[in-house]
């Protein structure tokens, strides 16, 4: 355990300093550093096995880091057991107590705190109202749908008024429709309850929809910490570019500041500071192409799929397949011109892409 001098500390509600963890000699987390502010909705996003659940379990007190320090309110909480941390968790499988009804599940923690029956009653009622389950007190857990169980689990944690609520892929067991509803509701609950959420998911859409801040994690290392907007539009490396949303990753050459060439054409871009004439990756979002009668790239539409709001086209430009989204209708087999404005071209170097992955 590393003791951090107090004056070196910042303002975050939860802070992780140089956290590392290995299981059976296999490193799971490497030098994790980040902080979460009060009332922030932070999402830890990454593929399965990236270490995100382990990270959450450390904050919750169910695992101890091999090295590094976790701070809550500026106080080191390493070695503090889960029931002594003012942090609560919504578990992946909800983990509701099957031998208790909804009321007793939610009241569980309050009863342990020996609060008065009247206080408990009021708090449980308020919590049920917050998750829109008023009147469900006497229901048995088995009688609830997945979505309802989910809400009870959230209520059970929220009723403890934790400073931080940890959520471990809480929506992964729900069907898509319900998941979308719950995303919106979770965000509302977080704002209403005024509690810091740390949310773990592998679903980039969830991460982008709800979060104030997103941490992209891969192979136990943080790839990027940023706003959802920047994670989406300014990925710092190939992993983030690839993992967050569909992206076209095109080989290119950085001619000089503000000029890059790819697919046989030269483009203006916003990027500066790369080595002149070096090989780079050019990242372009499917929705950022401009299709029309003229443009720097000429392509052939391989396929066109109707996806509801948009058409998704696969366009072949010089042996490279590009995914293009447009609201205009196109037919497969026709030719089309493509162009991109400088702002939507995002340049990454091989080195920059590889150094962290």
């Amino acid at each position: 355990m590393i003791e951090q001098p107090t004056e070196a500390r910042q303002e975050g509600l939860v802070e992780l300093h140089d956290i590392s963890k290995a299981f059976d000699g296999k490193p799971i987390l490497k030098d994790i550093n980040f902080s979460v502010d009060k009332n922030q909705f932070l999402t830890i996003l990454g593929p399965s096995g990236c270490g995100k659940t382990t990270l959450l379990r450390m904050i919750g007190g169910f695992e101890e880091p091999d090295s590094g320090t976790i701070f809550l309110n500026g106080k080191c909480i390493n070695g503090v057991s889960p029931h002594d941390r003012n942090i609560n968790t919504v578990f992946q499988k909800y983990s509701l107590f099957p031998h208790m009804n909804v009321y007793d599940n939610i009241a569980f923690g309050l009863k342990l705190k020996k609060q008065s029956a009247k206080t408990i009653n009021k708090k449980v009622k308020d919590a049920l109202k917050l998750v829109s389950l008023s009147g469900f007190e006497k229901r048995s857990i088995e009688a609830l749908s997945g979505g309802e169980q989910q809400r009870v689990a959230i209520a059970r944690a929220l009723v403890m008024h934790p400073q931080v609520l940890l959520l471990d892929e809480p929506l992964s067991a729900l069907d898509r429709r319900l998941r979308l509803d719950m995303q919106r509701e979770l965000k509302e609950i977080q704002v209403k309850a005024g509690i810091t959420f740390i949310y773990v998911t592998h679903d980039q859409e969830e991460a982008l929809t709800m979060s104030d801040k997103v941490i992209v994690l891969n192979n136990g290392a943080i790839q990027q910490i940023d706003t959802p907007d920047n994670i989406y539009n300014e990925p710092v490396n190939l992993f983030v570019a690839d993992f967050v949303g569909t992206n076209n990753i095109i080989d290119g050459r950085f001619i000089e500041d503000h000029r890059v060439s790819f697919l046989g054409a030269e483009f203006e871009c916003d990027d500066v500071g790369f080595v002149k004439n070096s090989r780079v990756h050019v990242i372009i979002r499917p929705e950022d192409f401009i299709l029309g009668e003229g443009g720097k790239l000429s392509g052939h539409i391989r396929s066109a799929a109707f996806k509801g709001m948009v058409n998704e086209l696969v366009v072949l430009v010089e042996d490279t397949e590009l995914i293009v989204r447009t609201t205009t209708h196109y037919v497969a087999g026709t030719d089309v011109f493509l162009d991109v404005i400088p702002f939507n071209i995002h340049v990454l170097t091989e080195e920059k892409a590889d150094e962290k992955v």
């Binding site: 029931h83 107590f97 923690g109 009863k111």
Partner: protein, 278 residues
């Protein structure tokens, strides 16, 4: 599906011939008098029940119930902690422990009980030691102690295993959830593990109580010739006195008592679950 139906029919016939039919014959016997091998001579009567409710028989019944109850309590008091400890071991050791608990069952039940007679006897190892240190011989069998010890020894695995199973079935995530909500280890045990393992306690109690109340071998060997439990009484009626009808009546009364006891237990176990020990 067809094959499955076949098995169901086979099982149905099996149960009908080997379980239901003997039971029906038993009930029929208990309500009749006359020559049991000549159906036409049988007449309906309640005399067998009047005979079965003789005060001395009721005394034997109460004594049997009491011993079975004591046996059950001892099995529970020993068995629950054992099951709980095994559940906490790492899986490899855990399986070995379960195997060890089952190991005595690989040898014959009678042989094991005879072995206890050697151990507990006046010339057995325990009394030899007691005598050598000057404490004299202690009567360890041919009394309640010997019978209860024999029953606890023989039936303990039937208490441990169901409790062990119900404890292993408790999802560790529930324990973590409880700890997350502020539960100490003691709270976790009393508010989560114990209530969720009550089905195991109920199964264990059923499996111990039933054989304990009907045993006649253990009471014969470790209780001695004069020691009579309800099992011995029924056996005596059938095999010695050849009075099948009164024997059947006693057996039916015992069966009814057992059904009532188990029904009450089941109800208690359920109620416990719902109240969840708050």
């Amino acid at each position: 599906m067809k094959k499955f139906d076949g098995i169901v029919y086979f099982y149905g016939i099996w149960v009908a011939v080997l379980v239901v039919l003997p039971l029906l014959i038993l009930v029929l016997l208990s309500f009749t008098s006359g020559d049991i091998y000549d159906l036409s001579s049988l007449t309906l009567t309640l005399d067998n029940y009047k005979a079965a409710l003789d005060p001395s028989y009721i005394g034997v019944m109460m004594h049997s119930l009491w011993l079975a109850f004591i046996t059950n309590v001892i099995c529970l008091v020993i068995g629950y902690p054992v099951a709980y400890i095994i559940t906490g071991l790492n899986p490899r050791i855990r399986n070995t422990m379960v195997l060890l608990i089952l190991a005595p069952m690989w040898s014959n039940f009678l042989l094991r009980t005879y072995s206890w007679m050697l151990v507990l006897g006046n010339n057995g190892p325990i009394n030899s030691v007691l005598e050598s240190i000057g404490l004299g011989t202690v009567q360890l069998m041919y009394n309640n102690f010997g019978v209860i010890l024999g029953m606890v020894y023989n039936f303990l695995p039937f208490m441990i295993l169901p409790i062990y199973l119900s404890l292993t079935r408790i999802d560790n995530a529930l324990v973590e959830a409880a700890r997350d909500l502020g539960a100490t280890s003691k709270d976790v045990f009393f508010k989560v593990k114990l209530p969720l393992s009550m089905p195991g306690v109920f199964s264990g109690t059923t499996l111990v109580f039933l054989p304990a109340i009907t045993t006649f071998v253990i009471s014969r060997l470790l209780g001695g010739g004069q020691y009579v439990l309800i099992g011995n009484l029924i056996e005596h009626k059938f095999m010695v006195q050849n009075d099948w009808q009164v024997g059947a009546a006693i057996a039916v009364i015992v069966a009814i008592i057992l059904l009532v006891v188990l029904g009450v237990l089941r109800k208690l176990a359920r109620g416990r679950l719902e109240l969840s020990l708050w």
